[in-house]
Symmetry: C2
Subunit: 161 residues, 2 copies
């Protein structure tokens, strides 16, 4: 992919995270089904609702660039989701939950890195609507990561008990 | 992979990051070669030296668990490295640098999430040597991410110029 300008790089990265979020819309319900803890299941379901809104915000960001909202296969997220799906139902339920949280936090960190870059680039490129929408997504991903860290405290202790 | 205990999950995650760091030992020199900015190239080369030390620390962590140091293919990191390798040499040099930083920050965030989980689990499991070694790796990855954010300021502005 030859990229002549920062606007090309921005569009490419936007297409990448758009595909990533759409993959997540399919993966999160499967993760929620595997969760043993009610709190964890609820947290995943809430994040699914947030992700639906995030996809809409990304479509608004595409509009700001004047280019079509089209996904591009995101190898990074595909790999992370593959990791999450390896969790086997034969395992101890508390351990499954601990591993689900670990996988979900990798996903959150992927998104934090991607949205961090996109916000910086949107600023430089003068995409004001895109910047505002992407900053909302970034804040939600950071909050989701912190929520998972808080949930992990009890769940990891149960897994070790 | 059935996991009966948190110790099983810890070992599995340790094997994952061990493979990830070894993949990085091969990928970082290729990224350094693509970098146009001397500062960025130096930063990548310095992180390569850190990564060699991190692999040794992971081997010490394996020793603490009493299990063999064996990697397990890390799909997440494989996907992230695949993303980094897509960067095309025909692109504008400053844009290549901006994209390299974006890819490297995704790698750092993957590692921050993985080491964060491993440190928490090592504490619960009483792996004191492993905890100390993993905490050093975590601190280095966070510092590398901050260094990249600082470098990105000038490089992104050049890419937009």
């Amino acid at each position: 992919m030859p990229m002549k300008t920062l606007a090309d790089a921005f569009y490419d990265e936007l297409r990448d995270i758009y595909h990533a979020e759409k993959q997540l819309l399919e993966a999160l319900p499967k993760m929620a089904k595997k969760a043993g803890s009610d709190e964890l299941r609820t947290a995943i379901e809430e994040h699914l609702a947030e992700t639906e809104m995030q996809v809409q915000r990304l479509e608004n960001a595409f509009t700001d660039t004047g280019k079509a909202a089209r996904g591009k296969k995101c190898e990074g997220m595909a790999g992370l989701i593959e990791e999450g799906s390896e969790i086997n139902g034969d395992s101890d339920a508390d351990v499954v939950d601990a591993v689900l949280i670990a996988a979900a936090q990798k996903v959150e960190h992927y998104e934090i890195a991607a949205y961090g870059t996109l916000c910086t680039w949107a600023d430089l490129l003068g995409y004001r609507t895109a910047k505002s929408e992407l900053a909302k997504n970034l804040a939600e991903e950071k909050a989701a990561d912190e929520k998972l860290s808080a949930l992990a405290k009890n769940i990891n202790a149960d897994a070790q008990a």
